[in-house]
């Protein structure tokens, strides 16, 4: 039983790689256009980061957070979101799939619908956001005086992966909504794109209802804020159990992924009983 599950999972992974590989090859046919968009995307996103630096030019701190610490939040949020966009954009682009009635084609194939949709729209030019987030993280390392223990350094990629899972989970939920109505997707997009901006600043600046919403309903606070409390050694969390803080992004990502997965399954079931 377990063997069969693992075999299927491996099959899914190899299929994903094959799909992505073919998309890469097709994008390399237009190399100049790709490079232009990559560079422009990078430059454009840099204006976001520049905005943070400009504000800290006039304000010393943001509720006790320094420019380096906010850059760290911003970097984490950007890399996670960029990776989600890169690896899961098929779900981000799902309204188009539904509008063009292409989901039937997906169901006609002897493979998981999830993997097929996930790999459906791989665009390498989305690397721009990841590069930009990495740059911000670099500045954050330079501007803060955090003691980067090996544990913390090892924890960093885990956090990024959790953030990616959270954002992809959100894409999946938005896509699931499309099985009922394509119109509402624009509302979902608000939180998707607003979500990176949200996660770029310390959680307590927001209204308490927004804090709760983004902690318990759409747990984007675990993308950057909670892991940063641990990684940056912020005083806010000094009397919380450290293991709880460290485990929280993992738990949030696992739980949210489960919710998104179940919702997706429910949505596909709905689609297969209504065909629309």
């Amino acid at each position: 039983m377990l063997g069969a599950t693992v075999a299927r999972l491996l099959e899914d992974v190899s299929l994903y790689r094959i799909f992505v590989g073919s998309r890469l090859r097709s994008q390399m046919q237009y190399r100049e256009s790709f490079l232009v968009m990559l560079v422009l995307g990078f430059v454009g996103l840099t204006t976001e980061f520049l905005a943070i630096i400009l504000l800290f030019n006039r304000f010393d701190t943001l509720i006790g957070w320094s420019v380096g610490e906010v850059a760290f939040l911003y970097g984490l949020a950007s890399i996670s979101f960029g990776m989600a966009e890169l690896f899961g954009a098929g779900f981000d682009n799902f309204p188009e799939t539904i509008r063009r009635a292409e989901f039937d084609r997906v169901l006609l194939r002897p493979q998981s619908a999830f993997v097929q949709v996930l790999s459906g729209d791989f665009q390498l030019r989305r690397l721009g956001r990841i590069l930009q987030g990495t740059m911000a993280l670099g500045f954050a390392f330079a501007w803060t005086s955090v003691a980067w223990s090996p544990q913390k350094l090892a924890y960093l990629p885990v956090v990024v992966l959790c953030g990616m899972v959270l954002y992809i989970g959100f894409f999946v939920l938005g896509a699931t909504l499309c099985f009922w109505t394509v119109d509402s997707v624009e509302v979902a997009n608000i939180i998707t794109y607003g979500g990176t901006e949200f996660a770029s600043y310390p959680l307590p600046i927001y209204h308490v209802l927004m804090q709760r919403f983004f902690t318990f309903v759409v747990p984007l606070a675990f993308v950057s804020y909670f892991p940063s409390l641990y990684l940056l050694g912020r005083p806010e969390a000094s009397d919380w159990p450290q293991w709880l803080l460290v485990a929280s992004p993992l738990a949030a990502a696992a739980l949210f992924a489960l919710v998104a997965w179940l919702a997706w399954g429910f949505g596909v079931k709905h689609y297969r009983s209504t065909g629309s």
Binding site: S33, L40, G44, T47, L55, F59, E186, I190, G194
Partner: protein, 263 residues
């Protein structure tokens, strides 16, 4: 004139059909407005005035910025570039109207729609939820209206030029994309220009982008009064006219290129 009025009206009517998108868009502006509001509340903390602005000024700026975003159109706008790529531009150029005027009229119709159905609702959300400090002087409101019209005109002039670049560049998105980010940063939308380092502020304030968000907002906040207000409006007018002239020159070059090379 009648022709351009009709073109503008058509454009306005066309936008009227996108009601769902309008509501979703307003919700997006509202959400971003909320986030930026709390960002400035967080930054101000207990400080009174920073770079000449109080927290109330900053909040007013946030919501005015979210409101102006659509009428002034900070986003990517490819309408003309797409006609250049498809070749439809040739038939548009041979029609018996002024090409620049035709697109300006269309943009005016769009801007009016976005003012009524995007800007005002967005601003009302902010005004109902937070205390925004706005000028109570009717002259400032009148000045703001004039300034808003000029802001749209400047924005159009820049977008017109960026779109014409498609006559020369292979990738029609590049120029528009670049403009998009310049718009966001140098207009003051992302960070008001008064918070910038003094030397940078001085430089950026001479660029046309300042006339798109920073100047209209300063007028309605009551930050530029009397002679300053008139100078601000003249600055906008100067850029609007200058960009129009530049647009016409570039258009003439483009037309000559089309005539010589046959597109």
């Amino acid at each position: 004139m009648r022709l351009y009025y009709e073109i503008a009206r058509r454009s306005f009517d066309r936008f009227l059909t996108y009601r769902a998108a309008t509501l979703a868009g307003t919700a997006t502006n509202g959400f971003f407005g909320l986030m930026r509001t709390y960002l400035f509340i967080g930054f101000y903390g207990s400080q009174g005035t920073v770079s000449g602005w109080t927290e109330g000024d900053a909040l007013a700026f946030v919501w005015l910025g979210q409101a102006l975003l659509m009428p002034v159109f900070i986003f990517g706008w490819y309408d003309i570039a797409l006609t250049i790529r498809s070749g439809d531009v040739v038939s548009d150029l041979s029609k018996p109207f002024d090409y620049y005027g035709f697109w300006l009229a269309r943009d005016a119709g769009r801007a009016l729609y976005h003012t009524l159905f995007r800007a005002i609702p967005t601003f009302l959300i902010g005004a109902l939820l937070f205390r925004l400090s706005l000028s109570s002087d009717p002259a400032h409101w009148l000045g703001f209206l004039v300034s808003l019209v000029l802001a749209v005109w400047i924005s159009f002039g820049l977008r017109f030029l960026a779109n014409l670049a498609a006559f020369w560049l292979l990738d029609h998105r590049g120029a528009v994309y670049t403009l998009l980010f310049a718009n966001g940063l140098f207009s003051g939308l992302l960070v008001p220009l008064n918070y910038w380092p003094d030397w940078a502020e001085t430089v950026v304030r001479t660029l046309p982008f300042a006339g798109m968000v920073q100047i209209p907002v300063e007028i309605i906040l009551g930050k530029s009064t009397g002679a300053d207000l008139v100078v601000a409006l003249l600055f906008q007018l100067g850029w609007a006219v200058g960009l129009m002239l530049a647009g016409r020159v570039v258009l003439a070059l483009a037309v000559r290129k089309v005539v010589i090379q046959g597109g």
